[in-house]
Amino acid sequence: MELKGYTGNILNVNLTDNKITVRKQNVDDIKHFIGGLGINTKIAAELIKPNIDPLSPENYLIIGVGPLVGTITPGSSRTVGTSKFPATGAIAYSCGSMSFGFQLKNAGFDHVIISGKADKPVYLLILDNNIDLIDAKEIWGQDIVESTHFLQKKHNNCGVIAIGQAGENLVKSSLALIDRTSTFGRGGLGAVMGSKNLKAIAVKGTLGVSIANPKKFNELFSNLLERIKNYPQRESWHQLGMMRSLPVGMLLLDSGQKKKARQCNERFYLRKLKKRRIACPSCPMGDKDILQLQEGSNSGLLNYTSSIINPALMFTLEDLINFDEAIKGYDIVNRYGLDSLTITSLLKFCTILYEKGILTEENTGIEWKTDYNTLIKLIEIITYRKEFGNLLADGWKKLAEAYNSIENEMLTVKGLDIIFEPRILRLGTMEFEQVVNPKGAHVASGGSPTYIGAGSSIEKFNIHFSRMGIPKSAISRIFTPPLEEMVVNIGRLTRYSEDWYTVLTSVGLCARAQMNRFYGLESTTDFYNAITGYNMQPEDLRIAAERTWNLIKLLNMKEGFSRKDDKFPKEWFNPLKFGDKILKFQDFFGQTIITPEIANQLLDDYYDERGWDKITGIPTQAKIRELGLEKFQFINN
């Protein structure tokens, strides 16, 4: 049967022996794992051997796009990358957007599996059926913006995943950018590509995507488009983008950085920073920025950003004075293919260690401050692995090994720095997700009404619960927290946030709140069926998502992870001095202080809700059988 929505093709590229082959998708896999993240995970489970070095030729890079990608379904442009990540050693995923996935689908592929290592730097070029590994000598050593520009000029505005110098030098926190804008691969996907001598992947397709049931699709699509058109906040999203999403200005104000807060407001952004709004293919809620500095020593500088929040968070470095310093720093980070969040956290942390006398000028060669010059210096020494930067380039785990007294102070989980600080933001599902996500501190997969309906009431929670397809039987458990005054059990709820995220990421839909909010499990299933011609039930999609998440967990059990790694950073239980305030780790509604005992109880509840063993964190035999994952089970000898 001819597949619709799916291309049905998986491209295999072995870099070691320059071998390129194409195989067909297995229809059983589609039924069990849907696509995108799901099928990527299944492929990883079959191919990635346990305990390999993530930077060795034995590692794989698996790229996948879901069945909705390439259609006009709003926000369907997700690209998923799966691999063993060097920052954490976890087998995990990372997502990006812009035009790569769209082009890959148009070229006729659902997944690309890259293995081995090229004997010299190359880039992979996919032009429909013409697939080639091309000498990358003109761009190796160049930054991501230059490389992307080169490839897009040479290959007719293709979609591009490229790494910068940080990836080439195997910096363990390096990532890639899609179309020089969308971050792709927090946790070291850049280094994985670098270790394979793979500078970039460029793709352009001409084939188009046809669907199974246009009549049904038209009905679904026109209803959804009408809803989006009538969404009262649409204009303001178009205007402000991610600026709407995290009030960094308020954070700065609260932390006592009043002057700086003025540069982080909407007026400043619109008048002094934003040049243009751009959107991924099919997205009516575009939030990507082209920024251009209007004044100052870097006047004229252009930067494409995936989310204005990233440079804004960099601006929270206390000794950065003007926002243009943050934009400039962020731009260099992007070009080199570093992770702006990790660089920001590292600079903050090293400065604290310096103040404590643990790091000194003698042992690091740097007088640590959170100012612009030190930021630039840090970026340089990490990217090129110079001096002390060589240690930092090996990630948080190596830093902790070198200075073993500091581990307890690090704000990391499984070797990845946290993004959301719950002492400031309280404990929602995104904060909790940072603790339990198998890949380390990751927030997106913990999206839930604790964010989507910010300022939530219980009524709003319930609307979102049914939208996300949370089974009715789970609701009373979700409303049974360790202490009554907490109202909601974040541990139990997080399980369903992950499942919902996995559905979106498997079909190919954007998970950002302003797009995600228009979908529910039911409508996503309707779109899926109209596009593919299958007749899935919402429950089938939810179970496929659960199966995928359990498989990710099982893979990481084989890598040696267990409950001991789902660890709340110790620092969270200490008060945080924030401006003239002292902040404590509170529950979502601010009714109680989260103690280590409550945190532990929430973990127990999360495992219980998942059907995992509370002591080890391993999926139970019953759960493995229920999901049909016997083939992949973890046997603890």
């Binding site: 035009s99 148009n106 243009r276 751009i278």
Partner: protein, 81 residues
């Protein structure tokens, strides 16, 4: 600058985000496939600083693309009055 294009459609390139909803819909409605290369309009340099929206000679002026531009880069003339 807002330009007048084919009958009834105003083009406001500054508001274009390169989302290609217009092109996807045009190809789908006229060719039954989502393929921007089959659309009867072109968005040049869509992620550049100054994208250009160009209606091709094949365009039959049905106005369907306008209904799918949610950014106001394509508008019906009446809407502006």
């Amino acid at each position: 600058m807002v330009k007048e294009s084919i009958i009834n459609i105003l083009i406001d390139e500054e508001r274009c985000t390169g989302c290609i909803l217009c092109k996807l819909w045009c190809s789908y409605i006229h060719h039954k496939i989502f393929n921007p290369l089959k659309a009867n309009l072109e968005i040049k340099d869509r992620y550049g600083l100054a994208p250009k929206i160009i209606f091709l000679d094949t365009c039959i002026k049905c106005g369907q693309c306008v209904q799918h531009c949610l950014y106001g880069a394509l508008r019906l003339k009446e809407e502006d009055n």
